[in-house]
Symmetry: C2
Subunit: 361 residues, 2 copies
């Protein structure tokens, strides 16, 4: 079978997701396992979301609205963009795939940061792109160096803002300097999956920049703060001609009905999620304090996760935590051999993490 | 933007789905609209499915199990195949896309029937394939002619069994003759979306053929008889090396949690769905009888839909029905200028269709 397949695909190491709770329970015979590995919201969906799902479930024999009409209207009002500037995906990672499928010819170049979200690299390699990686500098994007890497063959620059796994963000001035004078044939993909967590006055105003740059696409998700990771829904915002092209590659019913209804319920309930974001922010601060007290180094984060430095090799530490029923992410796969990534959990989960770490370190 | 995009994509006419009920209500100011346009199950999900969704909804803040562990185990027992021979998709149409993405190099040839399910053509064209179409013969696949079209460049043959829109099926002997001597470098994609509706003793036993043919992939769906179209879940069955390749292209969390849980509930409740299939079969027979009584010609179908011949042009007839609140599919887009396709509905819906047709024809 292998001789038939596109060569680009065989070169790709598949994405390794965080272990599911059930899998760890099975593997280690544990009853009580917590997961701080996938940057999920530790709180379940809101009552309004549960209600929307109950409502929608009755009609699941019908195909979804392929156009996401109602959600599109609501979100376009919310963001103050034209409804036709939006595209919805089966998670925002699907938008990444749609962009590379639409625009990458084999041999085109893509620029990403190193380390950054794995899907930028995997999706680009599958389409036969040459991926250029630019190392982070003190865990921040080195946009000057990334801009220098642009050649006549460069098609896309992926910018996670804030990015995963570093958790740091790009400032408005840095982004403006980066975009200025950039050839319009280079697409700038700004992934704002953690947008709702960022508390920083100089964070990029990407919707403002969209008014000036037609080669920009911004994505956000309902998987993180909105707690709908299991339902799969994210979206992209760009100029209409770019969105029109992505719609040609999109499968007609890519976003399921319940995801559409649940996302709509989230948008109607902004105050609830603002409070949730604050709760997570407070817990992040609590973790910082406790890490400092214990002499544990970490990278300050503008998201709901923290890169934590370990004294021993990360696979060992992550393995030890796992056996104690605390799933975190071993960062050695990202080239960070002595780092784990922990998601900010509920107060109880965070205490359990701290206790487990104390035993190990 | 257009000069950046892959040329193959600009050539593709996007898929035109059946109009959603809400859209028709908005457009024509109607209160009571029925949809017989998308080959959906007219009955809502089973109580067990609704219960599974209620259960699963609480945990939607977590990413889905990317491996579909529990569902995979259950389905592999059910089908008596190895769990690693299965791949799950965001609808079975996603499996079509995974196959073309993995195997089509620009210029490769793909063979499809004409008319057949639109996604075979669209997905192949997006990847730059040359699509060869072989006309149906009396609304049935002409496998002899399709086999003759195979060249050294042929990569995939798509076979809908039964196919949409014709609704006819391929017999075991015909499929065996087709597969015999076929070069192993040609993938045979057998789409069995309507599998559960087929009442015919000589229908292809595709799982039996899978034991002999490593270049075969069979897909089925929970969107039709199982009534989960809105949740998006289907699956493919093939030899493990082929599945392994598709997994490299698959996004890690392509199937949402509720879809996995609902599908599992369906598998545990086979008797319920067998009864449902019989109910739809009985209503199909009722429609045949009423069509005959009114002198309306149609194509006998092994699915939950029927191709119906119209005296006037199909767009006109479909438009008239739509204004009466009955959504059917105008088949002129498929080259069948005087045909509409109607899905078998509930007894009340079918009566309403017959009454509306009577007024028009």
């Amino acid at each position: 079978m292998k001789y038939l397949v596109k060569k680009s695909i065989l070169q790709v190491k598949p994405y390794v997701p965080g272990k599911p709770i059930e899998e760890v329970k099975r593997e280690f015979g544990l009853k009580n396992v917590i997961k701080l590995a996938s940057n999920e919201n530790p709180y379940g969906p809101s009552p309004a979301v549960l209600q929307a799902i109950r409502q929608g479930a009755k009609h699941l024999n019908r195909y979804p609205d392929g156009d996401c009409f109602t959600l599109r209207q609501a979100l376009s009002r919310d963001l103050k963009v034209n409804p036709q500037q939006l595209i919805f995906g089966n998670g925002s990672d699907e938008i990444i795939v749609l962009v590379v499928r639409a625009f990458i010819h084999p041999g085109d170049e893509v620029i990403i940061a190193d380390p950054s979200f794995l899907v930028y690299n995997i999706a680009s390699l599958i389409e036969g792109a040459k991926v250029k990686r630019v190392a982070l500098k003190d865990f921040r994007y080195d946009l000057t160096q990334m801009k220098r890497q642009i050649t006549a063959k460069t098609k896309i620059v992926f910018i996670g803002n804030p990015d995963n796994p570093a958790g740091t963000y790009i400032r408005q001035k840095e982004m403006e300097a980066f975009l200025k004078g950039l050839p319009s044939r280079v697409l700038v993909f700004v992934d704002e999956a953690y947008y709702e967590f960022v508390k920083a006055n100089d964070y990029v105003n990407s919707l403002g920049l969209l008014k000036r740059y037609k080669n920009l696409i911004v994505t956000r998700t309902f998987s993180k703060l909105y707690g709908l990771a299991g339902l799969r829904i994210g979206y992209g915002i760009a100029h209409q001609p770019l969105i029109d092209i992505l719609n040609r590659v999109r499968e007609p019913f890519n976003v399921n009905t319940l995801a559409q209804m649940a996302a709509l319920a989230c948008l109607k309930n902004k105050a609830y999620y603002a409070k949730l974001a604050q709760k997570i922010e407070d817990q992040k601060k609590f973790l910082y304090k406790e890490f400092n007290r214990r002499g544990i180094s970490f990278v300050e984060s503008w998201t709901n996760f923290i890169l934590v430095q370990t004294k021993n090799q990360a696979p060992k530490v992550a393995g030890q935590l796992c056996r104690q029923g605390v799933i975190v992410r071993d960062m050695s796969y990202w080239g960070l051999k002595k780092y784990i990534r922990v998601t900010v959990g509920t107060p109880q989960e965070n205490l359990r993490l701290l206790n487990a770490l104390e035993e190990i370190l």
